[in-house]
Structures are given as C-alpha cells and as structure tokens.
C-alpha cells in the first residue's frame, strides 16, 4: 500500500499567501483576510479589523498536539490558518503562490481595514 498523503515538500517563497473567506447566504463569499509570507519569515495579515485582531492573538490547533500559532511563525502560521479555518462558514484557502497574490492585490480584491 502506498501513502497517498505523501507529497513532495512544496516550495513556499516570500509572497505566498492564504486567504480566509466568510461564507454567507447562498453562494456569497467575503474576503476576511489575506496573510502573506514576508521576506523575514513572518506573516503579515490585512483585512477585516476584527478578524485581524483575532489572528494576531494566535490560533490554536488541536491536532496532532494543541499548539498556538502567531503571525511571527510565518509559514507554520499559514499552514495553521488552513487547519483552523475550515468550517463551512469561515474557510481558508491553500497556500497560494506569490504570483497569484500579486495579481490579486493589483486588481484590488483585498478589502481594506474597516
């Protein structure tokens, strides 16, 4: 039997990002935050002010062992976002490559702080 979960280690250069969406009625989807991996290895998040405050207090994962992650944890924080926000109501994307991030930013899809 082979292990289908085994994949080559992905390359996530600075600029890679995760977006977190709030799912609403019907097919409504609102961008809550975009967290981008920085050159110094940390992550920086922009978006809804309340949600960003949540993120900066840390997100905790239960699996495999309970641990809290902060934006300072960089890539691990982006991975944690994917695990923490996976309900039907708030959902984080996979880690996206920087080119897509730059493109999205330039088209103005990042919501400003409110």
């Amino acid at each position: 039997m082979t292990n289908p979960a085994r994949q080559p280690a992905p390359n996530h250069p600075p600029g890679s990002f995760v977006e977190v969406y709030r799912i609403g009625r019907g097919t409504e989807k609102t961008l809550l935050a975009r967290c981008v991996l920085q050159q110094d290895g940390t992550a920086r998040c922009v978006g809804d002010a309340n949600f960003i405050r949540e993120l900066t207090t840390g997100i905790t994962l239960a699996y495999p062992t309970p641990r809290s992650f902060l934006p300072a944890d960089g890539l691990a924080f982006l991975q944690a976002l994917q695990s923490a926000y996976q309900s039907a109501y708030i959902n984080a994307t996979d880690i996206q490559p920087p080119s897509a991030g730059e493109q999205a930013a330039s088209t103005g899809t990042v919501s400003s702080n409110r």
């Binding site: 039997m1 082979t2 292990n3 289908p4 979960a5 085994r6 994949q7 280690a9 992905p10 996530h12 709030r22 799912i23 009625r25 019907g26 097919t27 989807k29 309340n50 949600f51 949540e54 207090t57 840390g58 997100i59 905790t60 239960a62 699996y63 495999p64 309970p66 641990r67 809290s68 902060l70 944890d73 960089g74 890539l75 691990a76 991975q79 944690a80 994917q82 695990s83 923490a84 926000y85 996976q86 309900s87 039907a88 109501y89 708030i90 959902n91 880690i95």
Partner: protein, 391 residues
C-alpha cells in the same frame, strides 16, 4: 473487522464486499434489493456500499424517532406542551432536511489527508532542541494539515421553500498515514465517523433538552454519498463580535459548556459557535468529539469560561434526566453503539461518567489548558470586571 477495512477503503480499488458483511448488516435484503433495482442510473458505488448506506440512514432515523418518542412522553407527563411544540418544529425541520431534494450550491473545500511519517519520527527524538526544529520543519511543510470535504447545499422542501445546509460526506473525511500504513482518522477511528459525530451531537443536545444548541442535523445521502446534513445557521460567529461573553445568553453558554464537556470536544473555538441578536447560542462542527484515543485535551471556550463554576440548578436537573430517564438513556446508548460500533459501549461509559461527574459535583471541572498562547486567543475580557455574567 472486515467491515471496518471495507469502509476505510471506500476510495480504493477494493470494491467487493465480504459475504459476512451482507449477512451481518442487513436484514431487509428483499426491500433494499428492490430499491437497488429501481435505481435509474448506473451506480458509481458498489452495491454493498449502497446497501450499507441505506441501512445507516435508516438506523439513524429509527434512533431519532426513538428519542423523540421518549422526549414527547416526558414532556407530556410534565404537562409541558410548549416543549412538545418546539420539539415538533425541530423534528419537522429534520424531516425536511432528510427528505428534500438537494442541489449543490458551493464546494467549500476538498479533503486533504495527513502524512505523519516525519512527525512520528520526530516525536521520539530526545534532544529538545532537535525535536523542536524537526517539528517546526514538519509544520511548515504542511504534512499535518488535514481537511474534510465540505459542500454547501440547498434542500428543497415544499413549493418555493428551501433550507440551506452543510453536507459533510463520509468519504470526504481526512485520513492519517505514516510511511505506507493507514493510521485511521484524526479521532483515532479506523473508519470515517465524523459525520456520525455531527449527528450524535444534535442527538445528545436533544436528549439534554437543549436541542437549539445544535442546528438540525441528519444523516442522509446526497447523490450517492452518505454524510451529515446540517441546517445552515445565519448569524454572527463569536469570533466576529467584540465581546462574545457579554452578548451571549448565560444559560446558553453554560449549557454549551456542559455539552462540550460531555462530548469531549477538541475544537470549540470562537469560529465554531454563533450568537444571534437575542443572545442565543448555536454550535457547529462536532467532528472532533468523543475521540477513540483517550487523553486528548478538551478545548472549549465556553467550558473555559465556566471552569470551576457552580452549575445552575436547572442545567443540573437536565443533566440528571439524561441518565435517570430510562427511555432517554437507552436511546442514547443505542445511538452511541450505532455511531461507534464496538467502541460505542466504552465511549458511552466515558460520556455517562462525565454526566455523573457534573451532576454529583454540581460544578464544572477546572479547565485544563494545554495550548501555549491560548489565553490570548480566548479573549482578553475573560478575567476582567466587565464580565458580570459569570460571577
């Protein structure tokens, strides 16, 4: 054991059911055989899977009915006809979710399994520094990220009426691997049971007479995939407001704390419960409850709020009635056996022990916090004087 192995390989090329499966599991072969014959399209799943899914749906319905009868009988004896009416509304919604035609609105995410190969090698390293480095490396690679598949659907009811709902399919639940070995699920099961846990949480909430804490949840097939279907919740998540503690009805938060404790929830963070404009609390995401493996920390913000606080007399009375009412206790025990198979009895034992502990002590236990930094995430207002509700 043969059945477990079959289920775990739902996505694999193994498709032939052992003879014992059909013999052990299904008693109404003639009836379901007819249903198979009546299927209009060429099946994408094997016949034994189809039969098994029908049986699971049927059993869940039987258990829901049994609990409903027990509750209606108790409410009627008490002369509490208002509660009977409220339960009827709930049961109607469950029936609608179970029977309505479904349409997919949105695939919210796909499933992702975990590869624990490197993790298992790292945890046995004795040097603290090296262990830390290796674990950080694994976290960054994302080997341990698991996700279950979630689909938003619409369920047609009557005429133009519709329910929006969340469908979590059984074959969309994540699995864990190490090397070339399948370890099971994140709850330690050998087959996906997260969808059954979603249903069971609603079942327990009903038995606790606080059914509004969990949205109507049923087990059904959507297309040819079995899973849980839970009514969509409109409202504000606790994480979206500024002070979830002040906005919530204390009775609801206290009841949710109790529910989280007896279900041994590992994942009740602020994005997993809603607070409506009247302060009513509704909780979602019960896939990480009642783990087969013991020793997981209970993580619940409401439970943390009520840690070492006295349980109100009304909630204590409700908790007592879970086990003291024989029809209710029996329905619960059957539901545990249905949801967890061979593990049902020990898990029901653990559940009962926790209920008894709460009712005997009359207090919530001390909240055991094991996640570094969780205190900040909980909310800075927790220990302050601006939180008069918890006294």
């Amino acid at each position: 054991m043969a059945r477990k192995n079959q289920n775990i390989h739902l996505r694999s090329s193994e498709t032939t059911a052992p003879e014992s499966l059909a013999a052990d599991t299904f008693t109404e072969t003639t009836k379901v055989e007819k249903m198979v014959a009546a299927r209009p399209e060429k099946p994408r799943i094997e016949k034994w899977q189809y039969l098994e899914q029908k049986e699971i749906v049927k059993q869940s319905l039987i258990l829901d009915d049994e609990l409903a009868r027990a509750l209606v009988s108790a409410y009627t004896e008490q002369g509490n006809f208002d509660r009977v009416e409220r339960l009827k509304i709930r049961l109607t919604e469950e029936r609608e979710l179970r029977e309505g035609a479904t349409t997919e609105l949105m695939k919210i995410r796909d499933r992702k399994d975990a590869d624990e190969t490197a993790y298992r090698a790292a945890v046995v390293i004795k040097t603290k520094k090296e262990k830390k480095e290796r674990l950080e490396e694994i976290e960054e690679r994302g080997d341990l990220v698991v996700r279950n598949e979630v689909i938003k659907i619409e369920v047609g009811v009557e005429g133009a009426r519709r329910h929006e709902a969340v469908f979590k399919p059984r074959d969309g639940e994540p699995l864990r691997y190490a090397d070339d070995k399948l370890l099971g699920t994140v709850t330690g099961d050998q087959e996906p049971r997260g969808y059954l846990r979603e249903w069971l949480a609603g079942f327990v909430a009903k038995a606790l007479e606080r059914e509004e804490l969990v949205p109507p949840t049923v087990i059904r097939e959507v297309g040819e995939r079995i899973g849980s279907v839970q009514k969509w919740v409109d409202g504000e998540l606790a994480s979206e407001g500024k002070n979830w503690i002040l906005k919530s009805k204390p009775d609801d938060l206290e009841a949710l704390a109790a529910l989280d404790y007896i279900l041994e929830i590992r994942d009740r963070h602020k994005a997993n419960f809603f607070i409506d404009e009247k302060g009513r609390v509704t909780a979602i995401d019960h896939g990480l409850t009642l783990s087969i493996e013991e020793g997981h920390s209970i993580r619940s913000f409401p439970l943390r709020l009520y840690g070492e606080k006295e349980i109100s007399p009304s909630l204590r009375s409700l908790l007592e009635s879970i086990l003291s009412s024989e029809p209710r206790r029996l329905a619960l025990q059957k539901a545990f056996n249905f949801a967890f198979g061979d593990e049902g009895t020990p898990l029901f034992g653990r559940f009962s022990q926790r209920v008894r502990e709460l009712t005997k002590n009359g207090m919530f236990p001390k909240y055991e916090l094991s996640a570094t930094g969780d205190k900040n995430a909980f909310g800075l207002d927790i220990d302050s004087a601006e939180n008069p509700q918890i006294g």
